[in-house]
């Protein structure tokens, strides 16, 4: 009897893993290559302010309300959970500090990042992927325009500019939301809350927060645009590209967050 090793589960399993690894490495390679190409394109910059503003409005109009809601709600929930316990154990005066550190250092940026990925990142990826599978990207190339320069530049610049604003606004609302929640659930006076906010925060926190959100904005838009550009095979390819953009962006901002936390606060 002859054994066809291709039919064994072990073989299929290993093949699947090999396929995933290959896909991972090629996506990573593409992101690096297109990232460098984007940087090269900044030299002969041709994006008009109008293009950038158009992309910025994507952040401001279509995603800001939801981003703010998500960050604010998260802060309210955390504040509700901890305020009562802390007041009970005499730590009421530190709730503001706790919420400020939590929101400015971590939650504001990371929750905004998640919200932006699910709204902006996915729409960038599907937009560019659709252009790819309908040969619009090929059409750009044939007209001797570099698609990376033309498509990526306004989007990545808009993301890098807008993300800090979104995060700062969201964090501020988050801290205020925390105050309201603490006040309602455990009758903590607003003055006690906001006095302690300043214990926790330093200028460094603000700098790091801005720097981190700039990195998030860059990473999310770059990855989403790349995943769109490497799409193939029709409508299914657009779906795959969008999923890939979301997953890769999620992972990337968590990694960036870890790097920042290690570098600045540890």
């Amino acid at each position: 009897m002859k054994i066809y090793y291709q039919n064994t589960y072990t073989y299929k399993f290993l093949k699947l893993i090999a396929h995933q690894v290959k896909d991972f490495l090629s996506t990573l390679g593409d992101i690096i290559i297109y990232g460098l190409e984007f940087l090269k394109g900044l030299k002969h910059f041709n994006t008009t302010p109008k293009d950038i503003i158009e992309q910025c409005s994507r952040f401001a109009v279509s995603s800001l309300p939801i981003t703010l809601t998500i960050v604010c709600m998260t802060s309210i929930i955390i504040s509700m959970q901890v305020a009562e316990e802390m007041v009970k154990h005499g730590g009421g005066n530190f709730i503001g500090m706790l919420m400020a550190i939590l929101t400015v250092r971590e939650e504001g940026a990371i929750m905004s990042g998640f919200a932006i990925i699910s709204m902006i990142g996915s729409s960038l990826a599907s937009e560019i992927a659709t252009m790819k599978v309908t040969e619009q990207i090929d059409a750009i190339s044939v007209l001797k325009v570099n698609p990376v320069h033309y498509l990526f530049t306004p989007r990545i610049i808009a993301g890098t500019i807008m993300m800090p604003f979104v995060v700062i606004l969201a964090s501020t609302l988050g801290i205020i939301g925390g105050a309201i929640a603490a006040n309602i659930t455990s009758e903590l006076p607003y003055k006690a809350y906001f006095d302690s906010v300043w214990f926790g925060l330093s200028l460094k926190d603000l700098y790091v927060c801005i720097l981190k959100s700039i990195s998030f904005g860059f990473a999310i838009t770059l990855i989403s645009c790349c995943c769109g550009l490497i799409a193939k095979d029709g409508a299914k390819g657009v779906g795959i590209a969008t999923t890939k953009a979301v997953v890769w962006s999620f992972v990337s901002i968590v990694i960036i967050d870890l790097i920042f936390a290690t570098a600045f606060f540890y």
Binding site: H44, M131, L143
Partner: protein, 238 residues
């Protein structure tokens, strides 16, 4: 001198798609490429336009731009007709800033006139019919005065009358620009109306080369099968 292709080869994942193809198209001439779905016709166009890298062989052109008209028009759906047509003039590194807005408007109007669609500058691609989109994509392709124009199935999916219209525009653009053109098509009518010569591909090789009349008259198994559209014959669908 137009375009000359010598011993062109291309494979994808170890599968040879284009296997040693040679042909030549002079300026002001139109060549049709016919063949089965999957025989590599689009691949030939993509190799010539530089969208794909060839494995080996030579593609010699007289210089100048290569324009390509895509199978499904591939208009930029977020831009209006004006921006679509003037795209290369607005975005290409060596052309941007060369024209004023007024000049762009004049050029676009000229090109639209050439494809019989004057006055639709402000419309978006989604507001146009398939045939009109095709013609707008013609106008976009010729905006940089190319020396070579490649058409990928320009009449696919159009009714016979629109097809005839498109065929006439192909001839008209050739006369206007004196470019060397290559038309990939499945339709005998397109070949007859537009082309000076025909190339038939099968399994990555050239199985017929000649004029449209010879295609109909010649009695090889390949041409008979194509002209009569029979399933039995040397070319097998798989």
């Amino acid at each position: 001198m137009g375009i000359e292709v010598k011993n062109l080869k291309k494979s994808f994942d170890n599968k040879t798609i284009i296997d040693d193809i040679s042909f030549k198209v002079d300026d002001g001439r139109i060549l049709s490429i016919v063949g089965f779905s999957g025989s590599g016709k689009s691949t030939v166009l993509k190799l010539i336009s530089g969208l794909l890298e060839k494995d080996s062989g030579e593609i010699i052109t007289s210089g100048g731009d290569v324009a390509m008209v895509f199978q499904y028009s591939a208009l930029f759906d977020s831009l209006n007709v004006f921006d679509n047509i003037s795209f290369a003039l607005q975005e290409r590194k060596d052309l941007r800033n060369k024209y004023t807005r007024k000049e762009l408007e004049k050029i676009v109007a000229e090109k639209l006139e050439l494809v019989g669609l004057s006055g639709i500058e402000e419309k978006f691609p989604s507001e146009l019919s398939g045939g009109m989109q095709k013609r707008v994509s013609f106008a976009r392709a010729i905006v940089t005065e190319p020396k070579i124009i490649l058409y990928d199935e320009p009449t696919a999916g159009l009714d016979p009358i629109s097809s005839t219209l498109i065929e006439d525009y192909i001839v008209r653009l050739k006369n206007e620009t004196n470019a060397a053109s290559i038309v990939v098509t499945h339709q005998m009518s397109t070949i007859r109306r537009t082309s000076d010569s025909v190339l038939m591909l099968y399994n990555g090789k050239v199985v017929f080369e000649g004029t449209p009349d010879e295609l109909c008259l010649e009695n090889t198994d390949y041409t008979k099968q194509f002209v009569n559209a029979t399933i039995d014959g040397p070319m097998k669908m798989n």
